[in-house]
Every structure is written in C-alpha cells, then in structure tokens.
C-alpha cells in the first residue's frame, strides 16, 4: 500500500469506530501523541501513589489501612497496564521512566499538592479519582485498542476508589466538629486543583480538535469540567460541606452550575515545577529508581544464569 492508501485506510477506521491495533499502520503524529498521552497517564498513576502512600503508616484504623493499601496498589496496577499499552507503540518502560526522571515527561499536576490530613485521603478519592473517572470513561472507547482495553480495567477500579473516598468524607462529616472541619479543609484545598485536572480551557488547548478527530479524546476539557462541577455540587450537599467557590450558582438557562474563575497562573506554575511538592515527588521517584538499580541488575543477572543453565540464550 502507498502512504496515501495507508492514510485512507486509517481514516476509514477512525471514521467507523474501528480500533487501531499495534500492528496497523498509523500516522507518526498519532503514534507520538498517544505515546505522550499514555505514558503521561502511566506516570500519573505511579507518582500518584506517593501522596496517598504517605498515609499508609498513619491510617486511623486497620480497616482504613487495608483499604488505602489496596487502593495505592491498584494505582500501581494502573501504571503497569498503561506502561504496557504504551510499549505496544514502540517505546520501553525504561525509556519512559527515563523521561519521567529527567523531567521531560509530565504527570498530572494534582499530585504535586501535599496530603496534610487524613481527610485528604477522602478528598483525593472523592475528587481526584472522581475527576479521573470523568476524564477516563470516554477513553474506554478511544481509537487505540490497547489503550481502550487498559482503560476499561482502570475505570472499574477508579469508580471503586471514588466511592471509598466519598465514604471517608461521609464518616468525617457525621463525626465530631474537628472531623467535619478536617473534611471541609480538605475540600477547600483540593477543589480547585481537581478542576484544573481537566486541563486548560478549550480556547487554550490547541490540540483538542485533532485529538477529538482521532478519538483519543472524546469530550473537550471544558465539557468534562462542567460535568465535574455539576456532579460534585450535589455530592457536597449530601456531605453537608460548603463548596469553596462564592461564584457558584445554578444557571437555569444553561442547565448547569456557573462557577468562579480558575487560577490558571497557579496551574501553569505547578506545571512548570513550582508546585508545593514537585521536587519532592520527582526526587522520591528518582531515589526509588536509583536505589533499586542493584536489585534489577541482580534479577537480570540471575535470569541470565538460569537461562544459560537451561541452554536457552538469554
């Protein structure tokens, strides 16, 4: 087939909701964009283990400790599925790690905020996993097969996390005044960063049209953000918490809540590396990687010895 035929064939699949598989021809930009998007997503899962991992040793009950451990472990699993999906596009996990550790690859900015009280475990599950679900459910039908299949597994677990987070908040809200204050404080701190998780406004995201055309994005940032606001306001009412936005108001004509202006300067600063925990998160990942080098070397050396003892080439 000629390049033009390839392109037509690809376009035909995209237009007809047929998935693209690893062996299929695909435009270079499609491949590059996907590698960037999937690896960024994988990095977010793995870096995202850190803020919650913080509280494993301090969880206030054995049940909460087990649930939190299982949650953080799920995120590691999500990282694995996603790294594997990205590998089908011709990049190795080690290369992706290298990009993360050098600062070349990004991860979700939300994980550069600190977890300072137990209520943050509730707020993260409720709001951060909640926002992740909104971003990710549409990706279960994304055009790239391995990515779509990974997202199906991820989304099932994310909705479980969201419910667990909400349950932590609920427990705090029906607890003592101190506990309720803890819950409100966590909502105040996580609300705006959670809204920023949907990315820049539509007029400031130049690749949206192309990504929607390729079905690696199925709703715009602003559409998803609005959905998040509408859903969360109702949930906050159930909890009896106050949304930290004085401009929040139901708009009868639009059928949506209007909400206040997002501080994009803060968003850009955190992306640039100036968030409260950027350095710490990245250094923690680098440290784990460096200190694990001798372990990985040993595993490799041992596997080679075993293979040569079996007479199979390593």
């Amino acid at each position: 087939m000629t390049a033009i035929n390839h392109q037509e064939h690809f376009d035909h699949k995209i237009d007809n909701d047929i998935t693209i598989e690893p062996r299929d021809w695909m435009p270079d930009d499609y491949r590059k964009t996907l590698i960037r998007q999937i690896s960024q997503h994988a990095h977010s899962e793995v870096v995202g283990m850190l803020p919650e991992g913080n509280w494993i040793t301090r969880a206030p009950s054995l049940r909460r400790k087990a649930v939190l451990l299982a949650k953080v472990q799920d995120e590691a699993g999500h990282g694995l599925y996603l790294y594997s999906a990205a590998e089908t596009l011709g990049i190795t996990r080690d290369q992706m790690y290298e990009q993360l550790h050098s600062g070349k690859a990004k991860y979700s900015s939300i994980f550069n905020y600190p977890t300072i009280t137990w209520a943050d475990m509730g707020a993260i599950g409720w709001l951060v996993d909640g926002a992740a679900i909104m971003n990710q459910v549409p990706l279960c039908r994304t055009s790239y097969g391995p990515y779509a299949r990974a997202m199906v597994r991820v989304c099932k677990e994310e909705s479980f996390h969201q419910r667990q987070g909400f349950e932590i908040m609920m427990q705090l809200c029906k607890g003592t005044a101190a506990q309720k204050k803890m819950a409100q404080d966590a909502l105040n701190r996580w609300w705006w960063p959670a809204l920023m998780m949907f990315g820049p406004t539509d007029d400031a995201s130049p690749h949206t049209a192309r990504s929607m055309r390729w079905r690696i994005k199925r709703f715009t940032n602003d559409e998803l953000r609005q959905k998040m606001v509408d859903v969360t306001v109702e949930q906050a009412k159930v909890l009896g918490l106050t949304m930290p936005d004085p401009d929040l108001k139901w708009n009868e004509a639009r059928g949506h809540y209007d909400f206040g202006a997002i501080n994009w300067e803060e968003f850009n600063n955190v992306i640039k590396g100036n968030g409260p925990c950027n350095k710490e998160r990245l250094n923690t990942r680098r440290k784990a990687w460096q200190e694990g080098q001798w372990v990985r070397d040993a595993a490799l050396a041992y596997a080679r010895k075993q293979a040569s003892a079996d007479g199979t080439p390593a």
Partner: protein
C-alpha cells in the same frame, strides 16, 4: 498468671508480629525497586493485615471478659482504660492503637527498619518460613479461632514464602553486589531469629493446653527450610549464634516507639472518634 491471660498474651504475640511486620512492609508501598514487586509486597502486607485483624477481634473479645484487675495486670494503658470507663467494649482498633510499646508482644525482628531490599527480603523470608511452620501446626489447634486463622493464612503464606525464597536466591546468586548485600542483611538480622523459638510463659501455656504450637518442632522445620534456600542462594548461616530477645516480654528495641508514634498518632490526637 492465669490461663485467660496466657491465652490473651499468646494471641497478642501472633497479632503484634503480623501488625508490626505489615506496618514496616507498608513503608515500601510506592518506593519499590520494580513496580511488579511493589505490588507483590503490598499483597503480602494486605494478607498480614487481614490475619491480624481477625486476631485482634478475638483478642478484644478476650480483653472484654477480663476483670479490671486482670486488665491492669495485662496493660498499662490509660487510653484503653478510658474505653472501659465509658462503659464501651474494646474493639480491634483499640487493641492495636491504644497500647504503648511495653504492652506489645511482637518479636524484635519485625520492628527492625527496612533498610534496603535485601534486609527487607531477609526479614520477610525468616518470618514467612516461621509462619508456614506455625500455621501448619496451628491448623490443628484445639482453639477454633486460631485454627481458622491458621487454615486461611496457610494458603497465603505458602505464596509469601515462595516469593521471599525466590528473592533470597535471586539476590544471593545474582551479582557480586547483591550477594554481598544479601549476606550482610542475613548477618545483621540473624540475631533476631532466635526469639521466634524462645518460649515465653504464654508459649508454654499454649502448648500445654493444646491450642499453641510446639516451638522446638517449629525450629527444626524452620532451620531445614532456611538451610535449603541458603544452599541454593550460595549464602551461609552466620557463625555468631548470640540471639537477642525481649519482644515477647514487651522489652523492645528503640524502633518500636517510633513505629507506634506514627501508626497511632491520629487515634491519640483525636481520641474516641470513628474513622
């Protein structure tokens, strides 16, 4: 000491071992050398928490049956006494979160710091081999709760031991560096293994009453297990046979106080709340 207290102490020895071991392993979550191994270690940790919760629930039942005087012989914990002053029954979390270090009965081995992957693997391997032998024996305990926990945990611990043994072998027979690190970790932690088989008054009472395991028999099984894995791993058992002890009597290393300070801080700072 009467039989009730011996029994409670025996349960606490088992439960505290699992909890403190799990607490240390939980420190690895998100920091492992290989993502797949991070997941594996967390699995082990979750199994231990599951088992320890069953044991603490049982321990709480036993504590609730004690007389105030018996309780005060067992524990020096104003926080736990507060629960009873309010007329409430103690629950699993009260037992885990409201006792201070001197009321903990875990062996010193599990409270030692993780240090690196080799130290952690050494600790896991020693404990997994111990738990396999222990649960195999407790499966036929005349105490149905203990027998139940042992039966359920047996399947899990077989897998834990397979995992940690494989890592001992992989590191022992991997690179020169990994061999040296693994041997060093074993040398450093070896002195904490004797206590596993050192019978406390509770251990003796438990064996005599037929609900506990025979530690001498356990030690024979454990030694054989360790020796066979070390041979495959090209590692050796240290010459120094001096053994540390005290954990089962509540005399701990400096580490336990820090572990509890971290683990219990929310329960202590916001007493009496539901989480």
């Amino acid at each position: 000491m009467n039989q009730n207290l011996h029994q409670l102490n025996y349960i606490l020895q088992l439960a505290d071992n699992l909890l403190i071991h799990a607490q240390r392993l939980g420190e690895w979550c998100g920091h492992g050398p290989i993502l797949e191994q991070d997941i594996a270690l967390t699995n082990t940790c979750l199994d231990h928490i599951g088992a320890t919760r069953s044991l603490y629930q049982y321990a709480a039942e036993l504590v609730n049956q004690l007389t105030p005087l018996e309780r005060q012989t067992m524990f020096t914990s104003p926080a736990l006494e507060q629960v009873f002053t309010k007329g409430l029954p103690a629950k699993e979390d009260d037992i885990a979160y409201l006792r201070d270090a001197w009321d903990f009965k875990n062996v010193l081995l599990v409270e030692q710091p993780n240090e690196d992957w080799a130290y952690t693997i050494a600790k896991c391997f020693f404990m997994d081999a111990y738990h396999l032998a222990l649960y195999s024996a407790l499966k036929s305990s005349n105490n149905s709760v203990l027998a139940g926990v042992a039966d359920k945990s047996l399947k899990e611990v077989k897998y834990h031991l397979k995992w940690s043994s494989e890592w001992v072998i992989r590191l022992g027979d991997g690179t020169e560096e990994s061999h040296e690190r693994m041997q060093t970790a074993i040398n450093e932690r070896w002195a904490y293994t004797g206590e596993l088989f050192q019978a406390s008054a509770a251990d003796v009472a438990a064996m005599e009453a037929g609900y506990g395991a025979d530690l001498c028999a356990l030690q024979t099984t454990w030694n054989a297990q360790v020796q066979s894995v070390f041979t495959l791993a090209k590692l050796s058992i240290p010459d120094n046979s001096w053994m540390q002890q005290g954990g089962k009597e509540g005399r701990h290393t400096e580490h336990l106080g820090y572990i509890l300070a971290e683990m219990q801080y929310l329960q202590r700072a916001y007493p009496g709340m539901e989480w």
